[in-house]
């Protein structure tokens, strides 16, 4: 069965500092990996995805993520955090060889950026 783990419930970072939100995955085959962001009282927004190719994926709002097959990780990063980045971040995985297109979500990480 496929799954993702987000080991940190909350990440605190000062504005202007780099940020990392961690995600590890488990699938039987090759993964498709996604990051979503949820701002307060709003729906989920797609940030970026890894399908194949370059391990470093660039997405919306200056975010990027690095796919590491040996460590089965897909950590979300940003070089310089903004207060407006404060939100709930979800990692998700889809099994490339799966019979359906369903996404499995991690438990979420609350990012708090202090001014």
């Amino acid at each position: 069965a496929q799954s993702v783990a987000q080991p940190e419930d909350q990440v605190n970072v000062a504005e202007g500092n780099p940020l990392t939100v961690k995600c590890t995955y488990s699938v039987s085959g090759n993964p498709y990996l996604f990051w979503y962001v949820q701002y307060p009282n709003r729906g989920l927004q797609f940030l970026l995805k890894y399908i194949t190719g370059d391990n470093l994926v660039k997405g919306s709002y200056g975010f990027e993520a690095e796919f590491n097959k040996s460590q089965t990780s897909f950590h979300l990063k940003k070089p310089s955090a903004l207060v407006s980045d404060s939100a709930l971040y979800f990692c998700a995985v889809r099994d490339k060889g799966g019979a359906t297109n369903k996404l499995i979500f991690g438990t979420g990480t609350l990012l708090a950026v202090q001014p």
């Binding site: 996604f34 709003r42 369903k102 996404l103």
Partner: protein, 115 residues
């Protein structure tokens, strides 16, 4: 991409009653999903809404409690039946675009409170 709307955006319901949530997409899509997000929790897939056939439910979810309709490729409904306070959640409609490699887009959610 896809633009998704949901009705109602929120509701407060009495225990024992039922609520039907509508999901409308601005384009024809094959795959539609219904998720539940309980307070402070991640997203849990309830079912895949299949056009022209019965929905496919995930473990722990049954048709009698969460009947789903999918009359065409742009519309679906989820009914939460015989509600109890444990059903208080945000219910999210989602569509998959671009096959297995595509991302999912989410509606704004329906915030349900059962008293």
């Amino acid at each position: 991409s896809a633009v998704i709307s949901q009705k109602p955006s929120r509701d407060i319901c009495q225990r024992g009653t039922s609520l039907t949530i509508q999901c409308q997409v601005d384009s024809q899509v094959t795959m539609m999903f219904w998720y539940r997000q309980q307070p402070g929790q991640s997203l849990t897939l309830i079912a895949t809404a299949n056009q022209g056939s019965e929905a496919t439910y995930e473990s722990g979810f049954v048709i009698d409690k969460f009947p789903i309709s999918r009359p065409n490729l742009t519309f679906s409904t989820l009914t939460v039946s015989n509600m109890s306070p444990e059903d208080s959640s945000i219910y999210l409609c989602s569509v998959a675009v671009g096959g297995q490699e595509g991302e999912q887009y989410f509606g704004p959610g329906t915030r349900l409170t059962v008293t």
